[in-house]
């Protein structure tokens, strides 16, 4: 067996920490070297991995759909192709399953950037890749919250710089975070004008339990389990779209902007 390794010495420096003196010599080097190696340990590691890999591959290598785009996991952006995709498809799948007892349908889906754990490549999307994207066993839930809590939600979204939401709502935030009291007055007026009393938000049970400090979900008016895991919703959506002959296409539509 021959394993090629290339590793980059990104950085190489010498500090001098004698006493409290500043370093007397510091240098950045940028050398890369290649090792061709078949040392017993690596073979040993490969042999250890092999039986686990075979069993896993048999299940995880199933191609669910072809992606026409890359969906990189990106930090610090108000919206991402990846976040939009997952929030939109979650709402799509949940709406097929969720039958409201009070005639009020889901307003929108809110997830969190941290919960989407990897990028999706262009090309074949396997079941295994979806497990990497959504490794957690989180369930989709519908949380009914008061308009006061909804204002907290919007304030959170503003303060945090954006999280994945479904595309039927859009938020144009000012760059600077407005005072909570100020937003409260503003939104109360809007909600009253439209006679909105409560919101139904689709999210994961992790976030509904206050994960990522989404405390506005705590003590809600109502919480209902959709009956599907978020990961299974993604898998179901990919399979459905594939069956229709469609590919995954990325979309940025300005659903969250900061002016």
């Amino acid at each position: 067996m021959r394993i090629n390794i290339k590793y980059l010495f990104v950085f190489s420096l010498v500090f001098n920490l004698i006493g409290c003196q500043p370093p007397i010599y510091e240098k950045t080097a940028n050398n890369s070297i290649q090792i061709n190696s078949g040392t017993p340990e690596s073979v040993e590691a490969m042999l250890m991995i092999q039986p686990y890999k075979e069993k896993l591959d048999a299940e995880m290598n199933e191609v669910l759909i072809i992606s026409a785009d890359e969906f990189p996991k990106e930090r610090g952006k108000p919206e991402t192709k990846l976040g939009n995709l997952v929030a939109d498809l979650s709402l799509d799948i949940a709406n097929k399953i969720y039958k409201p007892t009070d005639n009020q349908f889901i307003d929108f889906c809110l997830l969190n950037n941290g919960g989407l754990r990897t990028s999706l490549p262009k090309g074949e999307i396997t079941r295994g890749k979806i497990f990497e994207l959504m490794p957690f066993e989180n369930e989709l839930v519908v949380v009914t919250i008061s308009k006061t809590k909804a204002i907290e939600l919007i304030h959170y979204l503003h303060k945090s710089g954006g999280h994945p939401i479904s595309g039927d709502f859009s938020f144009d935030f000012k760059k600077e975070v407005t005072d909570y009291k100020e937003s409260k007055e503003e939104f109360n007026k809007i909600f009253n004008d439209y006679d909105i009393k409560q919101f139904k938000i689709l999210t994961s049970d992790y976030l509904a339990n206050g994960g990522d400090k989404m405390n506005f979900f705590l003590n809600p008016i109502k919480i209902e389990f959709v009956g599907i895991k978020l990961r299974d919703a993604i898998i179901q959506y990919c399979k459905e779209q594939n069956k229709k002959g469609k590919q995954l296409v990325g979309k940025l539509d300005g659903r969250i902007t900061f002016e």
Binding site: I3, N4, I5, K6, Y7, L8, F9, V10, F11, S12, L13, V14, F15, N16, L17, I18, G19, C20, P23, I24, Y25, K27, T28, A29, N31, S32, I33, Q34, S37, T39, E41, S42, E44, A45, M48, I49, Y52, K53, K55, L56, E59, M60, E70, P72, K73, R117, T118, S119, P121, K122, G128, F131, E132, P135, F136, Y206, G210, G211, D212, K213
Partner: protein, 310 residues
């Protein structure tokens, strides 16, 4: 280790220090055995990335992989006498290997690579505290944490606050710190584990390691995270608010530092902070060159594990 071997290895590995080390070390390197070299290798947030990323990954094509890391570690072990291999937590969760096997293979591979110890990250609770306990028999190395109180849990007595290693006469004390679980991990998973405020504990343990245990080097394996916009405790804050800690090996925020961050600590000495991203894409390497009087110099490399040329 003799100087000749040191120079030879520097040239061989493309270390870039062969000429460079002559400047700071010329005063003592000429004398035989005038310093002891301790090589610290570290990973964090490997997140069950057993296999390398596929070649079509948008961000990390062909990077990482446990079998490659094992070769790299083996290579370094063949060149260095005093190696400590450490992990700063979040070993679990991130690929189907965790969903299917619950961390068994991760611990077995880390045992094979001869990890010396690891600390516990928030995602290591993802199959519950029972999930960690169930996997412990697959690890031949200890887990350390000083600020989770496990007394009312199944892990009681299985996690030690710190470990002491002696390498070539150098005494190295390593303790572990974990991030606040509330809001990150569901209560049903961590159960009766109590998170304790880390700064006071860090100071108490570092003091004990320094004075009572007489450690020459004190290392904190931290899963607190490098820094936050909020006032949440981070490695940067920890370093400023503590003394006696030489090195903080961090995790949680997936921060990739090209060089150690140097912080002036509470006693106006230097505390270094290092962290190497996530997913086993990089292996961090920090070498301490410790003089007879216990003062030391440090060199650092952030080694990228990659299967194709740049």
């Amino acid at each position: 280790m003799s100087r000749r071997k040191f120079i030879k290895q520097s040239l061989l590995s493309g270390f870039g220090l062969a000429s460079l080390n002559l400047i700071p070390f010329s005063s003592f390197a000429a004398k035989k055995k005038s310093y002891t070299k301790i090589t610290i290798l570290h990973t964090n947030d490997v997140h069950s990335h057993i296999e390398p990323f596929p070649d079509n990954d948008p961000k990390y094509p062909g990077m990482g992989g446990a079998a490659r890391r094992a070769v790299l570690i083996k290579q370094i072990r063949s060149e260095e006498e005093n190696v400590l291999l450490l992990d700063a937590g979040d070993i679990f969760q991130g690929t189907p290997y965790f969903n299917m096997y619950g961390g068994e293979l991760d611990f077995k591979l880390m045992s094979l690579m001869q990890y010396d110890c690891a600390t516990i990250g928030n995602h290591d609770f993802d199959n519950g505290i029972d999930g960690i306990t169930k996997m412990l028999p697959h690890a031949n190395f200890p887990f350390i944490n000083a600020n989770y109180d496990f007394n009312d849990t199944i892990l009681k007595g299985k996690i030690e606050p710190y470990k002491i290693f002696i390498k070539d006469g150098v005494k190295i004390g390593i303790f572990g710190l974990g991030v606040e679980l509330d809001g990150l991990v569901e209560k049903k998973l961590y159960k009766e584990t109590k998170y304790l405020e880390p700064v006071g504990i860090a100071n108490k343990i570092a003091e004990k390691l320094k004075t009572k245990e007489q450690c020459d080097l004190i290392i904190c394996l931290s899963h607190l995270g490098y820094q936050y916009k909020s006032d949440k405790i981070s490695d940067l804050k920890l370093a400023k608010k503590t003394k006696n800690i030489d090195l903080i090996i961090g995790g949680h925020t997936h921060t990739s530092l090209e060089k150690p961050t140097k912080i002036r600590n509470l006693s106006h000495k230097n505390t270094l902070i290092i962290q190497v991203g996530w997913a086993g894409i990089n292996l961090g390497r920090l070498d301490f060159y410790i003089l007879k009087d216990k003062n030391y110099s440090v060199s650092y490399q952030n080694l990228r594990i990659q299967n194709k040329s740049f």
